[in-house]
């Protein structure tokens, strides 16, 4: 029975199966498949390939297992995970909202799932229409002129967007050298700029967490290609001077890239296109409810204003009378950023979601997401430090300042939250908040679950004072405890080796 303190209301411990690595479970000679018999005359393999090209190792060590063992293996593994269907997953900036089951159903409709990306247009009208529709919906939601669905995730969208900026500036005669990025930005922003051949210049935020216009004014010269801004930014605040910012950048010949990862705070309320943003991406795997899948896939469509539209990746889908066709005739395009048409299956899910919501649903989503973040802030304010006390939008950033005096860090609080039955918040950024705990409840949480979260956070604060050691060794209720990650990185073991080959 449970070893967890009675203070913990949300969880108990329960029996859970161990499971070795698949290679340790492999049973030579077992099979988990059956193919139809070969129905053509078999030819000698060496005759077909030549000795030189033949594989000799007989795929040694690849697993051999019957179907029931495969099923148990992965089923058991799954039970070691925590997902949004398990409970609240307040991972800030990641918008871990509910993944509607209907989306999964639609994405598996056979005529979508089996559609080949190079199949003649006459045979893929349904897919092309989905893409066309998705672009229309996203244009309307963002207020931008045109959209491309090729980018496979947010970072990929960023890259696409910055490349388009480069393309446009190039055509204007000077691609420029730098991209300005607030110090609160997500790591993909600077990494992206670098990949596109730009130097990165950080700009400090004001004490209130917003972009410092004075500083921007200073930095914004003709070496600057673009400002990359997240809005609402990564401390959860809306850049109130967004139009001034855009004007300033534009006046000096630069463009504004908006990281749209936080669109869950804006959909149906305000549109980047109306703010003067030139190009942005959205994360459909955040705002539009497609599942994160333990790391992906995502889809990071880029949306652009009219001026940038010619630079969108090629091809685009256009409508000719009643038919949808792929348009490759795009002389200004930056080219392809990915083979085929992007993560179509993700886009399909997102379209299903947008249609399920409609305008009112989308707005209700946003309102609820913001309400929820404020609700949590309201109840934990004072207990946990809120470094930037502005108008909180869809997420609230706490710090461990109040708890640090007991020797307890954000990491300890996060690990202890696991014992209380929650996934921890984001801690890896914004770097401008030391010991940050970025909490994004999303609209998918109701106050029942949030009340438990608030209760847990309060309780952990008390534990931090009464028994900080408890937190430092948390979690205590999981099948494995804290790992020695330093040792793991020092001597990385990145794959299994057969015991005979181990050394």
């Amino acid at each position: 029975m449970s070893t967890i303190k009675s203070r913990i209301k949300k969880v108990r411990t329960h029996i859970n199966q161990n499971e070795s690595l698949i290679f340790e479970r492999s049973r030579p000679g077992a099979v988990g498949y059956k193919l139809p018999d070969l129905d053509v005359p078999a030819v000698n393999l060496t005759d077909l390939l030549g000795e030189r090209y033949l594989r000799k190792d007989n795929l040694q060590y690849m697993p051999e297992m019957a179907e029931p063992d495969v099923v148990r293996h992965f089923t058991r593994l799954s039970t070691w995970n925590y997902g949004t269907d398990t409970g609240m997953f307040p991972l800030g900036s990641c918008t871990m909202k509910y993944n509607p089951k209907i989306n999964e159903f639609v994405a598996r409709l056979e005529s979508f799932a089996n559609s080949h990306p190079l199949s003649p247009e006459a045979t893929t009208q349904g897919c092309l229409e989905v893409i066309y529709l998705a672009e229309q919906l996203l244009s309307e939601i963002t207020g931008m002129a045109a959209v491309s669905l090729q980018p496979a995730a947010g970072a990929h969208g960023e890259m696409t967007g910055i490349m388009m900026i480069r393309g446009l500036l190039n055509d204007r005669g000077n691609a420029r050298k730098k991209v300005l990025i607030p110090d609160s930005a997500h790591g993909t922003n600077p990494a992206t700029a670098a990949m596109c051949g730009y130097a990165v210049e950080g700009i400090r935020s004001k004490d209130n967490g917003l972009t410092d216009l004075v500083e921007l004014e200073k930095r914004m010269d003709d070496s600057v290609a673009a400002l990359m801004l997240t809005n609402p930014n990564t401390v959860g605040l809306f850049e109130e001077e967004i139009d001034k910012i855009c004007n300033l950048v534009h006046d000096r010949g630069g463009l504004v890239y908006m990281d749209g990862a936080n669109m869950n705070a804006l959909c149906g309320i305000a549109r980047p296109g109306d703010m003067g943003v030139d190009v942005m991406h959205m994360n459909l795997h955040k705002t539009m409810s497609t599942p994160h899948g333990g790391g992906g896939p995502g889809a990071g469509p880029v949306a652009v204003n009219k001026a940038l539209a010619p630079y969108l990746p090629s091809p685009t889908v256009i409508k000719q009378e009643d038919r949808f066709v792929l348009d490759y005739n795009r002389p200004h395009s930056i080219g392809r950023v990915r083979a085929f048409h992007g993560n179509f299956g993700v886009v399909l899910r997102a379209v299903c979601y947008m249609l399920a919501l409609g305008a009112d649903g989308l707005r209700e989503n946003t309102e609820t997401a913001v309400l929820n973040a404020n609700y949590i802030a309201h109840h934990l304010r004072g207990i946990y430090d809120i470094p930037y006390e502005g108008k909180i939008m869809h997420e609230v950033i706490f710090s461990d300042k109040n708890q640090k005096k007991y020797g307890v860090t954000n990491g300890d609080i996060a690990k202890r939250l696991i014992d209380y039955g929650f996934h921890p918040p984001t801690m890896s950024f914004p770097l401008i908040v030391p010991g940050s705990l970025m909490v994004e409840p999303t609209e998918s949480e109701g106050c029942q679950e949030m009340d438990l979260f608030i209760d847990a956070m309060k309780s952990i604060n008390e534990e931090a004072q009464e028994n900080p050691e408890l937190l430092k060794h948390a979690p205590h209720s999981t099948r494995v405890g804290r790992f020695d990650e330093v040792a793991a990185a020092r001597n990385p073991v990145l794959r299994w080796y057969p015991s005979s080959e181990k050394e």
Binding site: L137, R336, A356
Partner: protein, 443 residues
């Protein structure tokens, strides 16, 4: 809205508790003129039954996969997907979770990735593989960037037999960072002309695809020799990794970086994505790799487990100095491939590969025996080959389509000169009857 737990009553209660009058008050930091005064112009919310009807109708605008016979490959392959694969990745603990940043409650994902990394190493003959890239094409572009980081050289040589869309992506990735690309041609055998190739000292890597876009198996060993002699790396690309079950592995041939499109491993064609970028290399280069790596670790009680490791390469730590900007990858489809590879296993993969090569050989033989048709290239094939057609291939494809046969890919789409060339792919999913029907229709 049915996805929102808070009832109107609760919403009101929450607002009251916070002393806020209206939800509108939360949005006052957005300047009023930027706030929408009218609802968005979107279709009215659909009921679930309406969504199903709507999407079925759209899906039906595509060809019916049950009545269309297809010989399309060219980077996306029609392999049988065992039912358990989709079944297992549909466990919500897998698909509704995030990148495994909290190992204590993410061991399921982490162990699966470790297993995937291992299987990719076994299949490719490499020493280290990452947790996935977006797809084969972006993996290839990232490999070029990595080669640059390793060699500090700039030029990339890429064979013309590499998938044209992959080359297009490479171009997009490299054009802004002053990394020139040079193309290597191919000969009448369908193979890259490696023999008389000279590789300059400015070359970071040579990129060769095998089986190449024409379905021909390339001599990777020779390519590696040539590249290494010039101090360059060999990047091997594969769009059809099922071939690995029968072909000498790229690692065995000496490749330094192996990238591939993993769609063949149990992933639906799905109009081109989501797919799976496979990326593997040598231990000596592991700290230059892009993407996520999972490593073995131990907890305080000595329990073995797995964690994200060597993360200092990644953007969330290294920012502009990161080895790549990739963050979200193709996690769930990595899992899909892992389940597929496990289910088919050692024997299944070999049998699938064998059926592919045999059926392909049967089709190639039968088509080339037709009047006016021949095989364009002489190099050995796995499951694709190019047919020289008596009339423009696009014309033939168009005709066959009216008989519900997708005969293959007319190569003129990517190689404008090759008007009379049809790329045909045959997998274990094409029955002898299908092939015979194609042959008859081509007559």
């Amino acid at each position: 809205m049915r996805y929102i737990p808070n009832s109107a009553e609760e919403r009101a209660k929450m607002l009251a508790e916070m002393g806020v009058e209206s939800i509108e008050d939360f949005f006052t930091s957005i300047p009023e003129h930027l706030r929408l005064s009218n609802p968005l112009n979107l279709p009215p919310a659909y009921a679930e039954s309406e969504l199903i009807k709507f999407f079925k109708k759209l899906a039906n605008k595509n060809a019916d996969p049950n009545t269309t016979i297809s010989f399309l490959g060219a980077g996306a392959y029609n392999h049988f997907r065992p039912i358990v694969v989709d079944n297992l990745i549909s466990r919500s603990e897998f698909y509704t979770t995030y990148t495994p940043y909290q190992p204590e409650i993410a061991q399921g994902t982490l162990q699966a990735i470790f297993e995937f990394q291992t299987m990719i190493c076994l299949l490719t003959g490499m020493e280290v593989a990452n947790a996935s890239m977006y797809d084969g094409s972006t993996a290839m572009a990232e490999a070029a960037l990595m080669a640059h980081r390793i060699t500090r050289r700039k030029k990339i040589l890429v064979s013309q037999t590499v998938h044209p869309e992959y080359r297009a992506v490479l171009e997009t990735y490299l054009k802004n960072i002053d990394m020139p690309i040079e193309t290597i041609g191919f000969g009448s055998s369908g193979e890259t002309t490696l023999s008389d190739l000279t590789i300059g000292s400015d070359v970071a890597a040579v990129i060769v695809q095998s089986p190449n876009f024409f379905g021909c198996v390339e001599d990777l060993e020779l390519a590696a020799e040539k590249a290494h002699k010039a101090g360059a790396l060999l990047i091997s690309v594969t769009t059809e990794p099922m071939s690995w079950a029968l072909l000498r592995s790229p690692g065995d041939c000496g490749a330094d970086i192996v990238v591939a499109e993993g769609q063949a491993f149990g992933i639906a064609p799905s109009f081109g994505g989501p797919y799976l970028g496979i990326f593997a290399s040598r231990t000596q280069h592991q700290r230059q790799m892009p993407g996520r790596l999972i490593g073995q670790a131990f907890d305080g009680e000595g329990n073995r487990g797995f964690v994200i490791t060597l993360a200092t390469r990644e953007q969330h730590i290294r920012r502009e100095k990161a080895s790549s900007n990739i963050c979200t990858n193709q996690g769930l489809f990595m899992l899909m491939a892992t389940v597929y590879l496990t289910t088919m296993g050692k024997n299944g993969l070999q049998e699938v590969a064998m059926q592919n090569i045999q059926k392909c050989a049967y089709a190639a033989q039968a088509i080339s025996a037709l009047d006016g048709y021949s095989l364009l290239f002489s190099a050995p094939s796995f499951n694709e080959f190019v047919v020289k057609t008596p009339r423009p291939a696009a014309e033939i494809a168009e005709q066959l389509l009216s008989k519900n046969i997708i005969a293959g890919l007319p190569l003129s789409k990517y190689y404008p000169d090759m008007t009379h060339a049809l790329l045909v792919c045959v997998t274990e999913q094409n029955t002898k009857a299908d092939i015979d029907q194609l042959v008859t229709a081509l007559k």
